[in-house]
């Protein structure tokens, strides 16, 4: 999806699954591009920690459902664009083997005002955690183990089920 249309207004969106490391600065630059009405950019970077629940890990292996993951992310980017006045949105998710310190996921949102950019980035992350078909397996000295889904992530995603509060007026 390169430009979901919401109310006739095209919002540039970048959605990509890749094994390669994410060139964060370059990706964000592409997102903001030549638009002159961007006042706020929020980025979220998910990074592979060196331990999981106190156990040192060698790597994460990220399995995904290729045909579904991109479509599922695209649906949520469209929903974010319908909920908030975004100028751009970006989701890049890696798969395969990822070592501690490496980036796993990048979400970036651009808007004229900061509240929309913050809310949309949180919304996208909460949905990625609970709805995007990715599964993490931890490699450690004990062998390989699948990461358990966390109920706190479901709780975080559920708060978006209520209708969004009315937009506050312009505060960048």
């Amino acid at each position: 999806m390169s430009a979901p249309r919401v109310g006739g207004d095209p919002v540039p969106a970048i959605i990509r699954l890749q094994h390669e490391p994410i060139a964060i600065a370059a990706e964000v630059e592409k997102l903001v591009g030549v638009r002159k009405d961007v006042g706020a950019v929020v980025t979220f970077t998910g990074i592979c920690r060196a331990d999981e629940d106190g156990v040192p890990i060698a790597a994460l292996n990220l399995e995904h459902y290729p045909d579904m993951a991109e479509a599922e992310i695209a649906r949520h980017v469209e929903e974010a664009c319908a909920r908030w006045p975004l100028i751009g949105a970006l989701v890049i998710h890696r798969y395969g083997r990822i070592e501690p310190g490496e980036d796993i996921v990048l979400v970036a949102t651009a808007s004229s005002h900061r509240q929309a950019a913050f809310a949309a980035a949180e919304f996208l992350m909460d949905y990625l955690k609970t709805r995007a078909p990715f599964w993490k397996q931890v490699e450690s000295a004990d062998g390989a183990a699948w990461v358990q889904a966390k109920s706190a992530d479901d709780t975080a995603a559920e708060r978006w089920s209520a209708p969004p509060p009315p937009q506050r007026d312009a505060a960048k």
Binding site: E63, E72, T130, R131, W135, K136
Partner: protein
Amino acid sequence: MTTGPAGQTTKIKLRYFAWVRERVGKAEEEIEAPADIATIAELMAWLSGRGEQYAYAFENPKVIRAAIDRNHVRAEARIEGAGEIAFFPPMTGG
């Protein structure tokens, strides 16, 4: 999903991910299921009876998520007309 010659079985393309894939022992397969299996829940119950590995994979069907043609569905979803059905654990992306 296509109905078999005598109307008694249907061909279904299945995909498995993460530990469901590991327990079943394969990433995808095409199966012939009885034509009277109508929902995801019924399909999981039927798969459980196909052998030890399936019984292990589907031992706790409440934790298994499913997708029909790349859309999340609930256990009570009807499978008629499905092109591809996937089973997997709760997602842990992001």
